[in-house]
C-alpha cells in the first residue's frame, strides 16, 4: 500500500484544488448566508467570553482590561467565603430543583387528561384557554401575582385571611413555582399532546377491543408513546437547572422576602450594574455558568450510558 510521495502530493493538491473550486462555486453560502449569523455570534457571544478575564481583575472601566490590576482568584475567594454564598447558591438550587420536581410532571399530567377528552371541539377550546397564560409577559404575570396575594386580594378573600404573602420569605418559592405552573404547564403540554396523538391509533383501538381499561391503555399504549419525549425534555430541563430566569425572580422580589428570593443571577445584576463591582460580579456569574456546564456534561454522559451510546 505504499504510495510515492509525488502521488500523495498530487492527491493533496487536487484536494485543495477541489476545495477552491467548491468555494468559488459556493461562495454565496459563506458570504451571503452564513456571514451575518457568524459575525453576530463572534462579536456578541465570543468577545464577551474574552471579557471573563475581568473576573480575575480589579477592573477599572477607565483603564480598561489591559490597564487593570490582576487579582487572581480573590473575587472567587471573597464570594465563596462570604456568609451569603451558601444562601444564594441554595436559593438558586432550591428554586430550580423544586421547580423541576413540581413543574416537570404538571404538563405531562395535563396531556394525559386532555387525551381523555372525547370531543375534539371541546378539547380545542380547552387548549386555547390552557395556552393563553403563556403569552402574558413576566411583568404582567408578577403584577397579577402581587394583586392576587395582596392582603385584600383574591386569595385572602377566598381564605378569609389577610396575610401579606409577598413579604414572607417562606412563601416565595411556592409563589414562584405555582405561578410558573399556572403560566407554563398548558403550553409545555403541547409537545406531549402531540406525541400522544401520534400514538398508533390501531394499537389503541386494538387495546380497547381487547377490553383494556384506561389504566391499561396508559401503560401499554400511551406511556410508551411519550416516554422518549419525556426523557429528552427532562434532560434539557436538568441542563438548564442553574439558569433560573432572572426576570421573574427579580420581579417577585420585595425587600422583605430577599432571604429566599435573592438568587445568583439577581445578585450578579445588583453587584455588577447597580454597585459597579464589575470584577466580583463577573466572577459570580462565571461560577454559575461553570456549574451549569458541569451539570450538563455529566447529564449527557449519564444519558449516553443509559441510551446505548446516544447522547443529545
Amino acid at each position: 500500500m505504499s504510495k510515492t510521495p509525488v502521488a500523495a502530493a498530487a492527491k493533496g493538491g487536487s484536494k485543495m484544488h477541489n476545495t477552491l473550486v467548491y468555494l468559488r462555486q459556493h461562495w454565496q453560502l459563506y458570504v451571503l448566508f452564513m456571514l451575518p449569523a457568524f459575525a453576530l455570534t463572534v462579536i456578541f457571544r465570543y468577545v464577551p467570553m474574552g471579557g471573563i478575564l475581568i473576573a480575575f481583575m480589579e477592573y477599572n472601566p477607565i483603564r480598561g482590561i489591559l490597564g487593570s490590576e490582576w487579582v487572581g482568584f480573590e473575587h472567587f475567594n471573597r464570594f465563596l467565603s462570604s456568609p451569603d454564598f451558601m444562601r444564594y447558591l441554595m436559593n438558586t438550587l432550591k428554586l430550580s430543583v423544586f421547580g423541576l420536581l413540581w413543574g416537570f410532571p404538571a404538563p405531562i399530567l395535563l396531556a394525559f387528561l386532555l387525551n381523555r377528552i372525547l370531543s375534539s371541539k371541546i378539547k380545542q377550546k380547552i387548549q386555547l384557554v390552557l395556552y393563553m397564560p403563556n403569552f402574558i409577559s413576566v411583568i404582567v404575570l408578577c403584577g397579577i401575582v402581587r394583586i392576587m396575594l395582596a392582603p385584600t386580594g383574591m386569595i385572602n378573600m377566598l381564605l378569609g385571611t389577610s396575610t401579606n404573602f409577598m413579604t414572607m420569605p417562606s412563601a416565595f418559592r411556592t409563589i414562584y413555582i405555582a405561578s410558573g405552573i399556572w403560566q407554563g404547564a398548558g403550553w409545555a403540554s403541547i409537545i406531549y399532546t402531540a406525541a400522544l396523538s401520534n400514538a398508533s391509533k390501531e394499537l389503541k383501538e386494538a387495546a380497547v377491543i381487547d377490553g383494556a381499561n384506561i389504566i391499561q391503555q396508559i401503560k401499554a399504549v400511551e406511556w410508551p408513546a411519550i416516554k422518549d419525549t419525556v426523557l429528552i425534555q427532562f434532560i434539557m430541563s436538568v441542563g438548564n437547572i442553574m439558569s433560573v430566569g432572572f426576570e421573574k425572580a427579580y420581579a417577585l422580589q420585595t425587600d422583605l422576602n430577599l432571604n429566599a428570593s435573592e438568587i445568583i443571577s439577581t445578585y450578579v445584576y445588583k453587584k455588577g450594574l447597580l454597585d459597579g463591582d464589575y470584577g466580583f460580579s463577573t466572577a459570580v456569574g462565571l461560577f454559575n455558568t461553570v456549574i451549569n456546564v458541569i451539570l450538563l456534561i455529566s447529564m449527557n454522559a449519564l444519558v449516553k450510558k443509559m441510551n446505548d451510546g446516544k447522547g443529545i
Binding site: 459556493h26 453560502l29 459563506y30 451571503l32 448566508f33 449569523a37 457568524f38 453576530l40 455570534t41 462579536i43 456578541f44 457571544r45 465570543y46 464577551p48 467570553m49 474574552g50 471579557g51 471573563i52 472601566p61 399530567l109 395535563l110 381523555r116 372525547l118 370531543s119 384557554v129 390552557l130 393563553m132 397564560p133 403569552f135 402574558i136 409577559s137 411583568i139 404582567v140 408578577c142 403584577g143 397579577i144 402581587r146 394583586i147 383574591m154 378573600m157 404547564a185 409537545i191 402531540a194 381499561n213 384506561i214 389504566i215 419525549t229 429528552i232 441542563g239 426576570e247 450578579v268 445584576y269 455588577g272 450594574l273 464589575y278 460580579s281 456569574g285 462565571l286 455558568t289 456546564v293
Partner: protein, 302 residues
Amino acid sequence: MNKKKKKSEFAKLPAGDKVLMLFAYTILGLFLIAIILPVIYIILASFVDPITLQNSGLSFDFSKWTTTAYQRVLSNSQIWVGFKNALIYSILFTIISVVVTLLAAYPMSRADFKGRGFFNTIFVITMFFGGGLIPTYLLIANLNMLDTIWAILIPGAFSVWNMIIARTYYMGIPRDLQEAAEIDGATEMVYFFKILLPVCTPIIATISMWQFVGMWNSYFDAMIYLNSASKQPLQLVLRAILIQSQPQPGMVSDMQSTAARAQLAELLKYATIIISSLPLMIMYPFFQKYFDNGIMAGAVKG
C-alpha cells in the same frame, strides 16, 4: 346527533373507567378555573372605587363602580410611548432576527456544505456557555450602543435554537426540488428565495411569532441598556406601575393626600393589566394554528 354518539361512547365505558374519567375532568376543570378566575377577578376589580378596593377588596356595590382607572391610564402619554416603542422594537427585531436565522439555517441544512461541523460547534457552544452579564454590558458600552435601540435589536438577533428548527424544516423539503433548480441553473439565492422559502411559510410564521412575542414581553435588556424615558418599551412602563408601585406622575398627582395617591396607584394596576394584555389576547386565537407545527418542528430535533 354528534353529541348523542359521544354520550354513548362514555356510557359504554366500564365503571372503573367512568370514575377515572370524572376524576380527570374534575382536575382539568379545576386547572381551567384557576386560569380564568384571576382574569375575571382583575376585570371586575378594575372598576371598584380605590378606597373600597384597598379596605375590603372586590365589591359588588355597582353604584360605586368607576372607570377612572381606565381614563387615567389611557390618557397618560407614557403608556402610549411604551406601546409605540414595544411595537417598533418587536417588529424590527422580528425582521432582523428571522432574516439572519433563516439565512444561516440554509447552508447548515446542506450535507455538502463544507465547514458545517465547524459552524455547528461554534454556534452550539453559545447555547451553553457565555461571557455573562458584565462582559456583555461592557462590550455594548464600548460599541457606543448604550441607550440606543441597537442594543435591544442586534446582540440577540441570531437564535441558535431557531436556526436548528429552521434547518430541520429545510431538510424535510424534498431534494428533487433543489436538483431541478440546479439543472435549471438557478443560483443559491434564487433557489433559496424563489423555491425554498415559499414552501417554508409555516415555520417562518412560527419563528416570527416566537420572536415577536418574546421581544414584546421581555424587559431585562431594555432595563439595563435603555435610560431615556422616550425609549422605554411597554414592559418597563408596566414594571414601574405594577411592580414598583410608581405610576407615571400625571396619573395620580392631582390627589391631595399620600393615602389617596397610594389607593389610586393600586387601582391603576388592575386597569393597566387589562389594557396592556388586551392587544395580544385579541390576536392570540389567530396565532393558534401556528402553535402545533412549531412545537412539532422543535420535537423533531428534540
